[in-house]
């Protein structure tokens, strides 16, 4: 019995010390993490709308950014081939096209799926109007050429953009 108590005591002690240490570290860095996340988003918005004043706003609990008088930008997330893809989408105020897209994060296969984060793929969306569909080689108006060997990731990106664009258009367009 004494041995058993010693084991339990030791485990509780070690977990307590670990929990204490971690909460200390966490509370010291949580602000910095939030700031870093925000900075990454704002930098992405600035790449879409260079030289604009960027303000953060909320509508019905959904976060978005206002870039001066040029347009809106918002973060969109969704499932890619292996993991979540997150990106920032910029649109002009009348929602008639896409102003630009910056991919914040993708963990899809480097060299294939991860190519959707590259300018070569993303510039296809620029100045065009959703909904998009990804096909092997684009011919029609709403078609986007998928990255070779990464049809699934490309389709996922289109789907995320279409969904978020429609949602924000409903919320913001007057």
């Amino acid at each position: 019995m004494k041995k058993f108590l010693r084991i339990v005591f030791f485990l509780i002690l070690i977990s307590w010390v670990s929990g204490f240490l971690l909460s200390l570290v966490w509370h010291n860095s949580v602000d910095k993490i939030r700031r870093a996340e925000k900075k990454a988003k704002i930098e992405a918005v600035q790449r879409i709308f260079p030289g604009c004043d960027i303000k953060e706003e909320k509508v019905k609990g959904v976060e978005y950014f206002v870039a001066g008088s040029n347009g809106y930008a918002f973060e969109a997330k969704g499932m890619g081939f292996q993991d979540e893809i997150s990106m920032v989408i910029g649109v002009p105020k009348n929602f008639d096209k896409i102003a630009g897209i910056v991919v914040l994060k993708t963990l899809d296969t480097p060299g294939l799926g991860a190519e959707v984060a590259k300018e070569k793929f993303l510039r296809q969306f620029k100045s065009r109007r959703p909904p998009f569909t990804a096909v092997k080689s684009a011919v029609k108006k709403n078609e986007i050429s998928a990255v070779t060997g990464a049809t699934i990731s490309s389709k996922a990106v289109c789907k995320i953009i279409n969904g978020k664009f429609a949602q924000m258009k409903r919320l913001l367009k007057k």
Binding site: S15, S18, D83, T109, I152, K155
Partner: protein
């Protein structure tokens, strides 16, 4: 339908061993004969299910409500390690035949990265409890599949003439590479 997709996704398309590289150590270690591979694979499926069933409530009912998600790794590994230990004791006492089959692999599995990896993916992808269980079952089955194929190939390899330095781990890794290429062919199955 969704459950089928999650299962196939975890078992074949994004096979844990061949595309996430999780659980490579046991994959190389016990893939030398088919019988061991089978035992290990079944034990992994079993532990995967237990891990998913225990870590899901811990994360969603304890860590999230109290806003201490940063304790995730410590909590998960503790829960997994202790439930495995518990299962091992239970099996030894009440189901000795099963214990003699799976028991020796159980302690090894605690430190199998596939288990912790699976629970982390489950949380990141925000699966519901049932989806999490299906995901765990799929991941375990995928592990069994990869291990079984590998063991089959390696039994044949014993008769092959391999350059001496590559004998063992070297050739096993190169074969795993070829298998990974083969499994890439499955990626078209999704969506």
């Amino acid at each position: 339908m969704n459950y089928v997709l999650i299962f196939i996704g975890a078992a074949i398309v994004n096979n844990f061993v061949l595309s996430y590289f999780l659980g490579i150590c046991p994959f190389l270690g016990v893939s030398t004969d088919l019988k061991k591979a089978m035992g290990m694979g079944l034990a992994v499926i079993f532990v995967m299910m237990i891990a998913a069933a225990t870590t899901w409530p811990v994360y969603h009912k304890i860590l999230v409500p109290y806003k201490v998600q940063y304790l995730e790794y410590v909590a998960f590994i503790l829960v997994i390690a202790s439930s495995v230990q518990f299962v091992e004791m239970f099996l030894r006492k009440y189901v000795p035949p099963l214990y003699s089959g799976l028991g020796i692999y159980l302690p090894l599995i605690t430190t199998n990265c596939a288990i912790l990896g699976m629970t982390l993916f489950m949380v990141i992808r925000d699966y519901s409890f049932l989806e999490g269980l299906v995901f765990a079952f799929g991941a375990g089955s995928g592990f069994l599949l990869a291990l079984f194929i590998m063991a089959g190939i390696r039994e044949r390899l014993n008769a092959a003439d391999i350059p001496k330095p590559f004998n063992g781990a070297g050739i096993a890794l190169i074969i795993a590479g070829c298998l990974a290429l083969v499994f890439m062919g499955f990626s078209g199955m999704m969506r």
